[in-house]
């Protein structure tokens, strides 16, 4: 046994059961969705205090729905299911998700879940960066009832999030994008199965006049304890004429927002430089999507 303190593997079929278990085991409970992050922790010997593994695969938390307000992704929706969704395949506004979902290997997409990739709170992952740039909100339930946590407030540190020990993510919502919105994501990696050296998710909305009316620039991968929302870049985009010149200026502003680290994947200077290059390219990619069109706007 690699989990010496494990007392049981629970498979609740009611949310109330899950909440009871989370309350009973507190810090010693570990939710298992796809298990891909959990196994990574276990392999590193980081789960030695876990007493209860709680498999949430039979709670009916999966599935994708769409209405006038936007889309709702059930927490146990797999990355593969999300990748197949029509809006991800065709709507330029969700282009960042389409791009990001290309990176995890199929074996991870088939079991890794939307809730799991967020709750892992690893700012090195790709899919959460895209969900963040699309203004995602985690719909959370627990002993104290339900609450919504915008992803902006969800990630609070490296592997840390705003969930209380008795809470779980039930779903993630993405608001309906405004007309003339497109998004894109890019990742710099050492090989096809590695974590990001840096990654960038952007979303732009253009006004009638072709000027940038709204934007998000989110950077991950060794540029801070959490994903960084690059406020300086967003401010530089505001009201400007979308195109190469504006994008170069906005991308350069990213340098003020990030605090890259030096590790085996890349130096601080390299990350800073590539964050600028990739922000510019991601903005161009998003604009290209808007020009070539899609189903929105």
């Amino acid at each position: 046994m690699t989990l010496p303190d494990l007392s049981d593997y629970f498979v609740p079929t009611q949310e109330s059961e899950l909440i009871d278990l989370l309350g009973r085991f507190g810090e010693r409970a570990m939710i298992v969705a796809g298990g891909t992050f959990v196994h990574g922790l276990e392999a590193r010997g980081l789960l030695s205090e876990v007493e209860a593994l709680i498999d949430i695969g039979r709670l009916g938390l999966g599935g994708i729905s769409q209405d006038a307000a936007g889309v709702t992704l059930g927490a146990t929706t797999t990355l593969a299911e999300l990748r197949r969704a029509d809006f991800v395949q065709t709507d330029p506004a969700f282009g960042a998700l389409q791009d990001a979902l290309d990176y995890p290997p199929v074996q991870i997409r088939n079991v890794g879940t939307v809730g799991g990739c967020l709750a892992a709170s690893a700012p090195l992952y790709d899919v959460p960066a895209a969900l963040f740039a699309l203004d995602g909100t985690a719909c959370v339930r627990g002993a104290g009832g339900a609450r919504d946590i915008p992803l902006n407030e969800f990630f609070v540190g490296l592997f840390e999030n705003a969930l209380r020990t008795d809470e779980f993510i039930a779903a993630v919502t993405l608001p309906k994008p405004a007309a003339r919105t497109a998004s894109a994501f890019l990742k710099l990696e050492t090989n096809a199965n590695d974590l990001a050296i840096i990654n960038v998710a952007v979303r732009i909305t253009l006004g009638e006049n072709g000027r940038c009316a709204d934007s998000r620039v989110v950077i991950g991968g060794g540029v801070g304890e959490c994903y960084v929302r690059a406020g300086s870049a967003e401010a530089a985009l505001e009201g400007g004429k979308a195109g190469g010149e504006l994008f170069a200026t906005a991308a350069a502003a990213v340098a003020h927002d990030i605090e890259p680290v030096t590790d085996q994947r890349g130096s601080e200077a390299y990350r800073r430089h590539m964050a600028i290059v990739y922000t510019r390219r991601a903005l161009e990619r998003a604009l290209g999507r808007m020009v070539t069109g899609g189903t929105n706007g």
């Binding site: 690699t2 049981d8 593997y9 498979v11 796809g34 498999d55 199929v106 088939n110 079991v111």
Partner: protein, 162 residues
């Protein structure tokens, strides 16, 4: 404390008592003697443990056996047609297995069962995949011998045969 789990593997149902933190890979290899899936990295980095669960390629080293309860697991041993008529000829190879032999896509073989299972999902879902799709489908599988070209050739050959 052991948990009872029912696993459908390669068409047979097994009821097993397993430790709750045992992985599917451990159960396949150690309880069921299915040693096609290999233990490489044990943490999602190499792909040689790839099997299908309900038709989808997964890393069996990253799945608790208990969570595979009632699901259909297929390992490389379950590919191909069973035409065992008691004459010892066993199974007829899957077109992918045959193509790996014909294209010379196997060197040490440690990665092979996993690569074939990843490629199998591709061929089950995409007709005539192009080279990009093939390389993308096996991006989660490492091979330290072949340099991948012959593996890609083999998958193309199998795609043409199915």
């Amino acid at each position: 404390m052991k948990k009872l789990v029912q696993l459908n593997v390669n068409g047979d149902t097994h009821e097993l008592a397993v430790n709750p933190d045992e992985t599917l890979l451990g159960v396949l290899r150690n309880h069921l003697d299915l040693i096609g899936p290999k233990r490489g990295c044990d943490s999602g980095g190499c792909g040689c443990c790839t099997v299908h669960v309900d038709g989808k390629a997964v890393y069996s080293c990253m799945m608790y056996a208990v969570s595979a309860q009632d699901k259909n697991v297929v390992t490389i041993e379950g590919l191909g047609q069973n035409n065992d008529q008691g004459n010892g000829n066993g199974r007829e190879l899957d077109p992918l297995q045959q193509a790996f032999i014909d294209a010379g896509a196997v060197q040490c073989g440690y990665c092979t069962c996993g690569v074939i299972m990843a490629a199998k999902e591709l061929l089950d879902t995409v007709k005539n995949p192009d080279e990009d799709e093939i390389r993308h489908a096996i991006a989660g599988n490492l091979c330290r011998c072949t340099g991948y070209q012959k593996i890609v050739d083999a998958i193309k050959l199998a795609a043409a045969a199915v």
